[in-house]
């Protein structure tokens, strides 16, 4: 009985020491460390509120959880991976660039790129049309007709 008690006391003391060693290694996590990780996470119940600012009880518990994990020496990535394993990818603020969610990243980029190509084609086409029009014999030298020029000059005088 006594022996058991001593053993268990020793075990408790040992566990304290282990924790102390880990603390010494990583430094006790500050709130800033917790927020750094929490910023990248969303809890499943509070819509559109990042974990670092959410005030519900559930989110406070999550932050406490993060603190515990960091305290025993987990890296930021390990903590995030732990939440993804438990609650799914929805906890990530930034969708992954692999798998189905890569679509969310790549479609806007591709569409802007296609838009640029199309725009360049259109502009080139319009410019070719202009060149053809200027080259045509009916076109005057300078494409502003004289009466418009006159009017322009009159109005410029009025303004200045």
């Amino acid at each position: 009985m006594t022996r058991k008690l001593i053993l268990s006391l020793l075990a408790i003391a040992a566990s304290f020491m282990v924790v102390a060693v880990v603390y010494a290694q990583s430094g006790y996590p500050t709130d800033d460390d917790v927020n750094r990780v929490a910023k990248q996470l969303y809890c499943p119940v509070c819509p559109n509120t990042p974990l670092d600012v959410c005030e519900t009880k559930a989110c406070q518990d999550w932050r406490a959880d993060i603190k515990d994990k960091l305290a025993v020496g987990w890296t930021d990535e390990q903590v995030i991976e732990y939440f993804v394993q438990r609650y799914g990818e929805r906890v990530l603020a930034e969708p992954r660039r692999s798998g189905f969610t890569s679509f969310v990243w790549f479609l806007p980029v591709v569409s802007v790129a296609i838009g640029l190509v199309v725009l360049a084609q259109i502009l080139r086409g319009w410019k070719a049309k202009h060149r053809a029009a200027v080259a045509a014999p009916t076109a005057q030298a300078g494409d502003i007709p004289p009466e418009v020029l006159q009017r322009l000059e009159k109005e410029l005088k009025k303004i200045s």
Binding site: D31, P44, V104, K129
Partner: protein
């Protein structure tokens, strides 16, 4: 009794809106048919195209059944009066705290001030949809009173589109979210149910107190942000209606619809901008996360029509000056309208939060069907009328105002698509793979950031480009001084901050912003100097005259300056934001950057509005010198069991120190947890917003403006002659 009256008013309004839409088209369509026959009979020898133009001209002159069009207009005006009555009845119920009305019991409560009780009109779904419909009918009525004579041939179809949209919204109120429904108690089963009329065997039920508004909405911002946003959303219906009317009547090839609606578009856009800025400020003051924009689906829903509306406001200038991009402008206004309705859909159905919200009420499906039908219908109409939209697209040079505008349009649409895609992707993911995902701010910042940067650059140099063709040498000359200035500004900032903040991206951002701001300012200077030389005026008189004579142009420049100021705020906030959180005892301090916060005391007291307030008192020091006492607090709304964190802010043009009380230890209140944000340059966002609004007001100011703008039209002779005859 009163609420029955309201309900009947709503029913009649619904019927009248439908009637107006049908009667207007019936009245005008008859005419169209008649004149088509006449026209064909008269010009059988000439080409069909000629007959078509004749028919278009004749349509406006006389209508076959003008009495129906007149009657449709009167019906539309009565709809506005009826909806006004409905809104007044709801406001009466909210102010008098008639908790028998289900909506009043939902959003009003005894503890709320009379001011908040009235704003509760748009604090919940039923009320806000009614409010939406009321505003929309007000706009429609204003258009019909102001523009009736001028745009007679378009009016029947304007009535058709506005009243059709209105009928949809009134229909939602009537059949799905009835604002006049009341509470009834079933004594046998002890159930409370919501119904319009007394069900058999049930008693009137009036709760002692209502739920009251969501605590986050109990803020002065409630008077500003929601109504301005709604004015913006509903305002875009008007230019859309004119565009559709122009398509139907075959007049979309001319610029009449654009001229008529330019100011409406600008006003709608202005209010949406004000709504966005106020919303950002409200979030900053209330939501307690130290920021103003969280890329939340509801924020995105507001941003999207603003983006396409901005693209439209720019590209309509190409149509006015060059007669180009007629199809594209129609596409842009259709997009803006659809995104406004889509925005209301997202805001009011909560569908993005969860796909399951979609099937919970009939709202989701009806909205989606309405958006799909109007969007596809408008596009189909446009393709059918493509022949009337022909224009000669010619481009003298790739370096011209036209191509700058087109690139700008592409960027705006690119951002819109990225925002749209990111907003709806969680739904798509849930539908396709069954996994829920989150698309948060990091996505939107990374994808839209480069596009916004390109826009800022274009905003700076685009206005320097001449229409048709820009001489490279001249462009270089006008860019030289601003460019040199921006490089100097950036270098100074780099040297001042180098050891602490070596952020190349931030410096690049600063360079872009200063280039945009300086080129715009340089334009003011150049214009003023020209006047000083030619008119012998002093600088300020010259500047004043310059702006007064070209309000549209210089108003636009002021808007650009405002945008540059906002961009500066965004760059500062994005790259240099600092934050820290920590638990400190009384007398202990927490430090971030060169600021120190010392915790002095904590007290608890009951507040108004049913709040239990815990307030900390803390002294803020900068570089060891006392600045001010800050009192961040936490308001706990007892009835709703909801806490609201109220920040204490020390605000300067350089940076805001934003302090939150995150938590405290219950026993003895000896230690409390604070979160401190240092938000650099954030006040530039608000100052930019105000500048931006002033610029829009200047640009929208006078009607003389339009005539002068028309005289600057640069077109081939034929096109110009046509536009002169319109004047």
């Amino acid at each position: 009794m009163l609420y029955d009256l309201g309900y009947f008013a709503l029913v009649i309004a619904f019927a009248l809106a439908l009637y107006a839409a049908c009667a207007a088209v019936f009245g005008a369509a008859g005419a169209s048919h008649l004149h088509l026959q006449q026209a064909q009979a008269q010009v059988q020898v000439s080409s069909p195209a000629h007959a078509d133009t004749y028919h278009d001209g004749a349509l406006g002159a006389r209508t076959k059944r003008p009495q129906f069009v007149e009657s449709a207009r009167n019906a539309a005006l009565v709809v506005f009066l009826l909806l006004t009555l409905c809104v007044l009845i709801i406001i009466y119920g909210l102010a008098m705290l008639d908790f028998n009305v289900a909506y009043v019991a939902d959003v009003s409560s005894r503890a709320m001030s009379p001011f908040l009780r009235v704003t509760a009109l748009w604090g919940g779904q039923q009320g806000s949809l009614l409010f939406w419909a009321w505003m929309m009918s007000g706009f429609a009525a204003a258009v019909m009173i102001r523009k009736w004579r001028r745009d007679r041939e378009l009016m029947p179809y304007v009535i058709f589109v506005t009243m059709g949209t209105l009928a949809f919204f009134i229909g939602l109120s009537l059949f799905i979210t009835d604002p006049f429904a009341r509470l009834w108690h079933n004594p046998l089963t002890d159930e409370i149910i919501t119904a319009l009329w007394q069900p058999r065997g049930m008693m009137v039920f009036t709760p002692q107190d209502g739920q009251g508004l969501n605590p986050l909405l109990r803020h002065f911002g409630m008077i500003g942000h929601p109504p301005t946003t709604y004015v913006g959303f509903t305002g875009f219906v008007i230019p859309f209606a004119f565009a559709i009317a122009a398509l139907i009547t075959g007049k979309a090839g001319g610029d009449e619809w654009i001229r008529t609606t330019r100011r409406w578009t600008l006003v709608a856009w202005l209010f949406l901008s004000i709504g966005l800025v106020l919303g950002g400020r409200w979030a900053y003051d209330v939501l307690g996360w130290g920021g103003y924009w969280g890329w939340d689906p509801i924020e995105n829903a507001m941003l999207m029509p603003w983006l396409t509306g901005t693209a439209f406001l720019h590209s309509m200038m190409i149509q006015e000056k060059r007669g180009m991009l007629k199809v594209w402008n129609i596409v842009l206004i259709i997009l803006t309208y659809s995104l406004s309705i889509f925005g209301t859909f997202i805001t009011r159905t909560g569908v993005v939060g969860s796909v399951h919200a979609f099937s919970k009420s009939a709202m989701g499906p009806s909205f989606l069907i309405f958006v799909a039908v109007t969007f596809l219908g408008s596009l189909a109409l446009m393709f059918k009328r493509l022949d009337t939209l022909k224009s000669d697209h010619e481009l003298d040079s790739l370096l011209s105002r036209e191509s700058a505008f087109l690139l700008q349009n592409l960027l705006f649409l690119g951002i819109t698509f990225a925002v749209f895609w990111g907003t709806i992707f969680p739904m798509i993911s849930e539908l396709v793979t069954g996994t829920k995902i989150t698309v948060g701010p990091p996505f939107f910042k990374q994808v839209t950031g480069p596009l916004f940067a390109a826009l800022v650059l274009l905003m700076g140099i685009g206005p320097l480009f001449a229409w048709r063709k820009q001489a490279t040498a001249k462009l270089g000359k006008s860019l030289l001084i601003p460019f040199a200035g921006s490089v100097i500004v950036t270098l100074i900032a780099a040297f001042a901050h180098w050891p602490r903040h070596p952020f190349p991206l931030a410096l690049f951002g600063l360079w872009l912003v200063s280039l945009a701001a300086l080129t715009t300012l340089f334009e003011f200077w150049r214009g003023a100097r020209a006047r000083m030389q030619s008119q012998g005026e002093n600088f300020f008189a010259a500047l004043g005259h310059l702006m007064w004579r070209n309000r549209r142009r210089y108003g636009g420049y002021i808007i650009h300056l405002g945008m540059a100021m906002m961009a500066l705020g965004v760059v500062g906030d994005e790259f240099f934001k600092a934050e820290t959180q920590g638990t400190v005892g009384v007398g202990e301090s927490l430090a971030v950057e060169n600021y120190t916060l010392r915790f002095d005391s904590l007290r608890q007291y009951p507040g108004s509005d049913g709040r239990d307030i815990v307030e900390a008192s803390a002294s803020l020091y900068r570089d060891g010198e006392f600045v001010m006492t800050l009192k961040p607090r936490r308001d706990f709304f007892v009835t709703q069991q909801q806490p609201v964190t109220v920040p204490a802010v020390y605000s300067t043009p350089g940076a805001d120190v934003y302090v939150l009380l995150v938590g405290w230890e219950d026993i003895g209140r000896s230690a409390s947890t604070f979160k401190i944000y240092v938000n650099p340059l954030i006040n530039w966002v608000w100052a930019g917003g105000i500048t931006f609004i002033i610029g829009t007001l200047i640009a929208a100011w006078s009607s003389l403006d339009d005539k002068r703008a028309a005289s600057y039209v640069i077109r081939p002779v034929v096109g110009r002659a046509a536009s002169l005859s319109e004047v």
